[in-house]
Amino acid sequence: MNIENTQSQMRKGILEFCILSVIRRGEAYPSDIVEEMKAANLNILEGTLYPLLTRLKNAEMLTYRWVESNSGPPRKYFSLTPKGEEFYGELQATWNELTNAVQALTQKNGTF
């Protein structure tokens, strides 16, 4: 068993949830998302982000619009769709479940 694998599995699990929460706060541009997550100590590679965003967009959780800028190519700004909102809601519920469960289990060990 490789610990790194497990760790990355753990991270992978919550990735969509985190991204959606960032976008939920407001229209976001991919590199902004990366910045925010870095600030929250969750390092994510841009290369991981883009496919994820595209998948979410294809699943109609997200939508985007092009914003022209004079310093650079036009950028995609992502925002949550209603369906995405629903999705997010469910994810949050799951997350709460999980945290409670884990807390309960780990407290018994005496470590937290």
């Binding site: 490789n2 992978k12 590679l45 883009y50 994820l52 310093s71 650079g72």
Partner: protein, 773 residues
């Protein structure tokens, strides 16, 4: 100092170092591969590229002159490499390798199913033997076995072929397995696979593929394949000529081994696939497949390709150079894209029966080409070895300055040029040089055609010299022999053994054969002796012997032919009843060789005898037939009708004779005088036919008549010279002798002192053509 190129990247022009651009390209392509099955792949990639462009723009705005390698690498680091991506693509194809850099998830070119340490489906059912549905030449049996045994399918195929060839049951086993095993789409499970290397090939890259697999130098397997074959060819050639030197038995090794290695090479050519994509090339060498190594491979490919493109470019000028480079990179892009896309599907288009048959055809044509080349080389070698002797002869045939020049020109151009071209091609192939300009082929071809044309012209000119015929004739004042028997003898030729100094070069039997085969006898500085003499025996119209001597020659015109004919010196003498003919006649360089011939016509009256000595067997008649017909000896009769023989003599009174046998002329023709007691019995004769006392013994004792066998006693194995005229067969069973002597069997001929090798008469045409060189 690095080259900068400008790229149009999402509608901005970005100056970027060429090497940086390549890095970017490779990254994008690795992304393409990674997302090969992803639904929104293009979009993802365009997003990423967009991001790149934005970052480039920022950098440039900050004052950088151009984008460097470092910049690109930094952006890629922050972007992350595909194998580091945390997000898993939809298909469970590249399994859980996120975060674990270095494993080959991104390189899907290796075919799916790379064994990961943490594969979710690692706990499989116990491995079963299947036939591979996706990797089959015939039925996928070998690939299935290979998958089960975790081997390279190529190796399993080779083993199968070997087993079939040596023990034979491999074929049966294959069919059984084919029927029995179920199919399944299998993934290949070997890391290091045997490929053919298409980049470094002389014929098909088999040797270099093997070298790459075993990590040995390329020339080692090449030598192993080539050496027994070449050595075998040469020793077999030499063995036929100088067999006492080479008859050491080792030829079994070389001949057999060389041949089987050729077969092995062809089998390997069919079976081993070609490494086309970069990842296949890496597999060929057994290197780790990841982005780095792919990058390096692609880079080296690009370098070589660029090198060639550069050469093309420097020649054709600036504009072409740019175009070439752009095309090159574009083509490379396309190839890589294609390889990425094709990786998901069945990987090799190079397998299958069609491929096998194609290879067999290619190998077959290669063999033919090789044989032709070999023949050319051997022809040249033969000419080189014998050329010295033939060079002298050349001046006898060719007349004049122009003919000489043409002869040399055609010889060199027609024969030597293909060999030079071949050698050049071989050397180029082996050393891997590419020809920058392709004009060399055209130059060679043009020269060769010039040579051919000059050869044709030369042939025409020479043939012209042989066109006209003429002959002169005279009557020889013959004293009637007192004994009623005329003996015709020819002088012995005194050989100047000009070939003696080469005696060590050829074996003994060669020398003897040479002596017999020669149509001329001696060659000294200025002249050669010919023995193109024929003796015809006719029935005389009156009761006296007559002798006519006809000398003929060809020439450019009738006059020149007649001149030449008259120049033939053929002094005939008579001593009592022996008609002594010279051994031959001489022609010198001035006269040129023009198929000078002499016919001695002897007329025998009825009731008289004639004996033609074995020495006349030395005469060697041939005709050089140019155009319509040969020398017209008698009254224009050359219509090949059956009433006349080749020389126009009427067959009515023109008779067939064997030397060494005494004949008597009857009203019906020549009949042998002496019989023999038993078949095979020979009359006593002294060994040397030249000794004078032989004259008496020639009139051999008459013996009692025996029922005759056929007049033609088959090809006498020794000694006697048979006059080759188509003659009506003397019916051996004619019972009644019409003259006073008895009709007897022809005696088998006398053994001559020399052991004669029954050499075939050299075809005049072969000799003629050899004269042309």
């Amino acid at each position: 100092m690095k080259k900068i190129i400008n790229i149009n990247f999402y509608s901005r022009v970005i100056p970027i170092e060429e090497t940086a651009y390549e890095i970017l390209q490779q990254y994008v392509d690795s992304l393409r591969r990674y997302f090969a099955n992803e639904e929104g792949r293009d979009e993802i990639i365009s997003d990423i590229e967009n991001r790149f462009s934005e970052l480039f723009d920022q950098k440039l705005k900050k004052g950088a002159a151009c984008i460097t390698d470092a910049d690109v690498n930094a952006i890629i680091a922050s972007m992350g490499r595909p194998e580091e991506f945390a997000g898993e693509p939809e298909q469970p194809r590249a399994s859980a390798s996120a975060g674990a850099a270095g494993s080959a998830a991104g390189a899907s070119g290796a075919g799916g199913g790379q064994q990961q340490s943490y594969a979710p489906h690692a706990a499989e059912e116990p491995r079963r033997l299947f036939r591979a549905a996706n990797d089959k030449v015939l039925g996928g049996v070998c690939a299935g076995l290979a998958n089960y045994l975790k081997l390279d399918p190529v190796i399993v195929r080779i083993l199968f072929v070997l087993i079939t060839l040596t023990w034979g049951f491999g074929l049966l086993l294959y069919f059984v397995l084919w029927i029995v095993l179920p199919t399944k789409s299998l993934a290949t499970s070997a890391r290091k696979r045997l490929y053919r290397n298409p980049d470094d090939r002389v014929i098909a890259g088999v040797a270099s593929g093997i070298a790459a697999y075993f990590h040995i130098e390329v020339w080692i397997p090449r030598l192993i394949f080539a050496l027994p074959l070449i050595v075998g060819i040469f020793t077999s050639v030499f063995r036929n000529i100088w067999w006492h030197f080479f008859n050491w038995g080792g030829h079994i090794f070389f001949d057999g081994f060389g041949g089987s290695l050729v077969v092995a090479y062809i089998v390997l050519w069919i079976v081993i696939p070609e490494a086309t994509t970069a990842s296949e090339k890496l597999e060929m060498r057994g290197e780790k497949i990841d982005l780095e190594s792919i990058k390096n491979t692609v880079k080296s490919d690009l370098e070589t390709f660029k090198g060639r493109a550069k050469e093309m470019g420097t020649e054709m000028g600036e504009s072409f150079k740019n175009m070439g480079q752009q095309m090159g990179t574009q083509i490379r892009q396309n190839v890589q894209t294609f390889s990425a896309e094709a990786s998901g599907a069945a990987r090799r288009h190079g397998t299958g029966i069609g491929h096998a048959i194609g290879v067999l055809f290619k190998a077959f044509f290669l063999c033919i080409a090789g044989l032709i080349a070999f023949g050319l080389i051997m022809g040249l070698v033969g000419l080189a070895l014998s050329g010295g002797g033939l060079l002298d002869l050349k001046s006898y045939v060719l007349d004049g300055f122009w003919e000489d020049i043409l002869a040399w020109a055609s010889f060199i151009l027609v024969l030597v040029i293909p060999v030079i071209a071949l050698l050049t091609w071989l050397i180029r192939r082996i050393t891997g040089m590419r020809s920058k300009r392709h004009y060399l082929g055209y130059v060679f071809a043009t020269l060769w055609i010039i040579g051919l044309i000059s050869f044709v012209i030369l042939a025409g000119m020479v043939i012209n010299n042989f066109r006209a015929r003429a002959h002169s004739e005279e009557q020889f004042a013959l004293v009637q022999p007192s004994t009623g028997n005329l003996v015709v003898k020819a002088r012995q030729m005194v050989h100047r053994d000009y070939y003696d100094q080469e005696d060590w070069w050829f074996g003994n039997e060669w020398r003897r054969g040479w002596r017999r085969n020669d149509f001329f006898y001696t060659l000294n500085a200025d002249s050669i002796q010919l023995n193109t003499v024929q003796i015809k025996v006719l029935r005389s119209d009156d009761s006296a012997y007559h002798v006519r001597i006809l000398r003929g020659s060809l020439g450019g015109s009738s006059n020149s032919a007649l001149d030449r004919a008259r120049q033939i010196s053929f002094p005939v003498t008579q001593t009592d009843s022996v008609l002594q003919l010279p051994a031959g006649f001489t022609i010198n360089r001035e006269q040129k060789f023009r198929n000078q011939q002499v016919i001695v016509v002897v007329y025998i009256p009825v009731g008289k005898k004639i004996l033609l000595d074995n020495s006349v067997g030395r005469y060697d008649w041939f005709n050089v037939n140019v155009g319509r017909s040969h020398i017209n000896w008698e009254d224009g009769r050359n219509d090949y009708s059956s009433e006349y023989d080749d020389e126009g003599f009427s067959l009515e009174n023109n008779f067939y004779w064997n030397s060494g046998i005494q004949y008597i002329m009857t009203a019906d023709g020549l009949k042998p005088v002496n019989g023999m007691g038993k078949y095979g019995e020979r009359p006593e004769r002294p060994e040397n036919p030249e000794r004078p006392e032989r004259k008496e013994k020639k009139e051999a004792p008459e013996k009692s008549a025996q029922p005759e066998k056929s007049g033609k006693s088959g090809q006498p194995a020794n000694g006697s010279y048979r006059y080759k005229a188509p003659a009506p067969k003397r019916d051996a069973d004619t019972p009644v002798p019409k003259s006073s002597t008895m009709v007897v069997l022809p005696r088998p001929s006398v053994a001559t002192p020399h052991k004669v090798v029954a050499a075939p008469h050299p075809s005049p045409f072969v000799l003629l053509s050899s004269m042309f060189i």
